[in-house]
Point group: C2
C-alpha cells in the first residue's frame, strides 16, 4: 500500500515507475474500455456491495486483470480524496511521443476522433477538429477539465508541455472524467520545441489570449489547428509569440474576469466542432 | 468570529441573516465595484504586507466600509479553504426577486449585460443573450462556474431554483470569481413555478439534455431564451418537460462522458453571444 500511496502523492514516483493511480468506477471502466495498460485493481470490501463497482471487478477478472482486496479502511489512507472511491487501479502511462503524433500527421494528414489512448491515428478515419497544447497550465483541475472538453468536442489530442501540471496527478485524472483514456495525450517537451515541431508537421498554431487577439468567431479555424493555452495567471509567455501563427480571443461581456483555461478551451473546441459539423469543414461559417 | 464561521459553514445562518462571507481580494474588489452591500471587511495582519489586499482595505476605508483586523491565525479558523485568503467580508444577499426580473422584462423586453447585482435592468440598454435557469444543480462549484460563464458571455441573469446548490456557499462564491456581483441573480422558487412565470414573461424555455435534444448549432436561439439546466447525475426531471418549449443537446464526439453543467452552459451562452455579435441577432447564422 506504501507503493499505491506514493504513486498517488508523488510525481517523481509516477515518473520513475511510468504508472499512476486512477480512482473510481467510471474512470476505471473508461480505462478498461480503452484497453489501457491496467496493472492491477484494488478494492475496498464495501465495493462488493455496490453493483457498479462489483460489475467492474467481475469484468476485470474475466479479462485477466489482477484484482486485489484491500483491508477495510486502507483505501481511505491511500486515496487522494476525502470520500475515497471503492476501487482504484495502477495504470501504465498512456501518453504517446510528440513525434508519433506529428509524424502520423505528416503521413495521413489527420487524427482520429476519440480514439483509445496510446493508439496511433490510422489513415482513413475522420479529420480531427484541432489539438490543444498546454503551455504552463499549472492547475491539475484545469488540465483535467481541458482533456475532458477536448475529448467531448472531438479534438485530436492534448499536449501538456513541460511546466504544465502533471497529466497523471489524481486531480487531473479525476477532472478528466475518463477522457484521459479516450484521446491521444502527449506530455513533456519544452514549449518552444513543441511549437516548432508542430509547425513542421503542418499545424497553424493559434495562441489564446485575453483581449488583444482576433475574435475567434470571425477567424479561420479550418485545417490543422493547434490551440495554445498559457498560464492561468500570466497567460502566454511573450517569448513564444514568434512561434505562434496567430492570437485568438474569446470576447467577453461587461466586467467579467477572464474565463479559465478549460472554459476557453470549451468555447474554441466546440466552435471548431460546430463549424465542421454544420458546414462540412469550410473555413468559415459565414 | 463565531458569527463569521457560522456564516461560512451554515446555509441556515446565511438565510436567517440574509448575508454571506466572500473571501479573497479579487472577489471583494468585485463586490465594492458593484456597490454590493458589504457590511464589514475582516483581514489577517499579513494582508497589510500584500499590495493588492492593502489597497483594497484602504479603498474600503475611504468608501466608509467598516474594516476589522483579526488576530493572527483567526482567518485560518474561519475560512473555508486550506490556504485562507488574507481578507474576507460579510456581504448582504444580492439576489433579486424573479418577479423583478420577469416584470422588468415585460416592461422593457430586455436585460442589461453585466449590470451590478441587485440593480434592476434599465430601459434602453442592450438586449441580453439569454438567462440561465438551474433546476437541481447540486454542486456548488458547478453553480459558481455557471454564474462566471453566464457573466462572461453576457447572459442576462442566473436563476438558481429551490433544490439547487446555495448561491452563497463559499464554494459557489469562489467559483463565480466575482461574477455573482456582476449580473442579476435569483434564488429559490419551485422549478415548475419559475418555468411558468418565465413563459408568462415571454421566454422560450429550452432544456439542456444529453443526446435526445436538437443540435444547438442549428436551433433558433434568438429572442428571449431561458436555458434550463438539470441535475448533474439525473438531468432534467421528466415532469418538467411540459413546461419546456424545446430541448437542446450539445453533440459530443466518441466515448466522452457528458459535459458538466458549467461546460454545457459555456458552449450555449457563448454560441448565443457569438450569433448576436457576428450577425446582429438574426435567428440563425446560416
Amino acid at each position: 500500500m506504501q507503493r499505491l500511496r506514493r504513486l498517488v502523492q508523488r510525481r517523481s514516483t509516477r515518473q520513475a515507475e511510468r504508472c499512476f493511480v486512477a480512482e473510481g468506477t467510471k474512470i476505471l471502466a473508461a480505462a478498461l474500455d480503452a484497453g489501457a495498460p491496467v496493472e492491477g485493481i484494488y478494492y475496498d470490501p464495501a465495493a462488493l456491495g455496490q453493483p457498479r463497482a462489483a460489475a467492474l471487478l467481475e469484468r476485470a477478472r474475466v479479462a485477466g486483470t489482477r484484482v486485489f482486496a484491500l483491508r477495510e479502511g486502507v483505501m481511505g489512507r491511500v486515496a487522494d480524496t476525502v470520500t475515497p472511491q471503492p476501487v482504484c487501479a495502477v495504470v501504465g502511462f498512456v501518453d504517446i511521443a510528440l513525434e508519433q503524433l506529428a509524424g502520423e500527421h505528416r503521413a495521413c494528414g489527420q487524427l482520429v476522433v476519440g480514439q483509445p489512448a496510446g493508439r496511433q491515428p490510422a489513415a482513413g478515419e475522420p479529420a480531427a477538429a484541432a489539438i490543444c497544447v498546454c503551455v504552463d497550465v499549472r492547475d491539475p483541475g484545469n488540465l483535467g477539465a481541458l482533456v475532458r472538453v477536448a475529448d467531448a468536442a472531438g479534438a485530436g489530442a492534448v499536449v501538456a508541455c513541460a511546466g504544465s501540471a502533471d497529466l497523471y496527478s489524481p486531480k487531473t485524472v479525476r477532472a478528466s472524467a475518463g477522457s484521459l483514456f479516450h484521446l491521444p495525450v502527449v506530455t513533456g517537451g519544452e514549449p518552444a520545441a513543441v511549437l516548432a515541431q508542430l509547425a513542421a508537421a503542418g499545424y497553424r498554431r493559434l495562441g489564446t489570449v485575453a483581449g488583444r487577439g482576433s475574435d475567434y468567431a470571425t477567424e479561420d479555424l479550418s485545417g490543422k489547428i493547434a490551440l495554445v493555452f498559457g498560464n492561468e495567471a500570466n497567460g502566454l509567455d511573450d517569448v513564444l509569440e514568434p512561434l505562434l501563427d496567430g492570437l485568438l480571443t474569446v470576447p467577453m461581456a461587461g466586467q467579467a474576469e477572464s474565463l479559465n483555461v478549460a472554459m476557453t478551451a470549451t468555447v474554441l473546441c466546440f466552435e471548431i466542432a460546430r463549424r465542421r459539423r454544420v458546414d462540412g469543414g469550410s473555413p468559415l461559417l459565414r
